[in-house]
């Protein structure tokens, strides 16, 4: 269980850090505003392919942080519990 916890925590913090950096680049007009990291995406006209890639990766990291952590903290333990319960019921 501890292994699953640290896996989920690693995913959550690592992907969350990457998302925070990208959101700080593309969704933050000012660090003194009250809408940091969640503003609508603002890409300038001179945006390169890397900027588009960054915006895409931002969403990827965001959902990876949430779904990855939920998988290891909720999904896999729930599956294991269900499997154990099923085996007990068979016996």
């Amino acid at each position: 269980m501890a292994d699953e916890f640290i896996k989920g925590l690693g995913i959550f913090t690592g992907a969350g850090l990457a998302w925070m950096v990208l959101a700080g680049w593309y969704r933050t007009s000012s660090f003194e505003s009250s809408q940091q990291l969640v503003e609508p995406v603002s890409l300038s006209d001179s945006a390169t392919m890397f900027d588009t890639l960054g915006v895409l990766l931002m969403d990827v990291f965001f959902w990876f942080a949430i779904i990855g952590a939920l998988t290891f903290w909720v999904g896999i333990p729930a599956v294991r519990q269900a499997r154990e319960a099923l085996e007990e019921r068979v016996q």
Binding site: G24, W25, S30, F31
Partner: protein
Amino acid sequence: MTDEDTNTDDVRTDGSGIVAPDDETPTWRERKERTEGLSRLTYEYFERARREDQDLRQESDYVERDVLAFPTWPHEIIRNLAIASFFVGMLLFLSATLPPHIGAPANPSSTPAIILPDWYLYWSFGLLKLGPLNPELSILGGQKLMADRTYGVLANLVVVGIVAIVPFLNKGSARRPVEQPFWAAVGVGGVIFAFTISVYSAKNLIPMNVDLLFDLTFLLPIVGGFVTWAVLKTMREGYMYDLNRRYYRLRPPK
């Protein structure tokens, strides 16, 4: 052989005579090598020191820590280096990827709309705003004994004084909250009060009636403390029960 040394219990720690370790008796060749000159002096010196150390360890209730811990190098140094490297790397990464905007210089001729200290001083700032608690004494004709700002400073002195007294109190041998439900509840109430008074210090932080917020500032710690006390009081019965059961399982009553 050294029959006198092995038979007598008293240990000669004055350096006279060669005292061999208990489990290793020196050979005749080793004895001869140590019987004269500098070699004898050196041997006696170190042997005396070793024997004194051994006797001290045997006589004292000193617990050998060597088997219970690890040497500082490499274990703790490596660990501390890893932790320090992580945080330094995190600082470098964040400062490289998210450099903060450097704002316009402060204008000393205009008062900012919101005046707040750093967040860790919010509690002290909140204690300065206890004006509604400052009683209007009828004996003074409805006047207050002291100004509201004086009252706030006094509140700071009281709170800081209480916290400063804590290290000098005898807190007993209890190490778990369940063993002292009341004082644990007092502590939880204090933590909650530190939070609520911080929230109260910035009066517009929570969109709520300020009077209600003021009341909640003092009621929530009491409620939280009471809940803690009730929970711990309930837990303690089970806790003591488990302890007793384990104790009597180990040592059945006669």
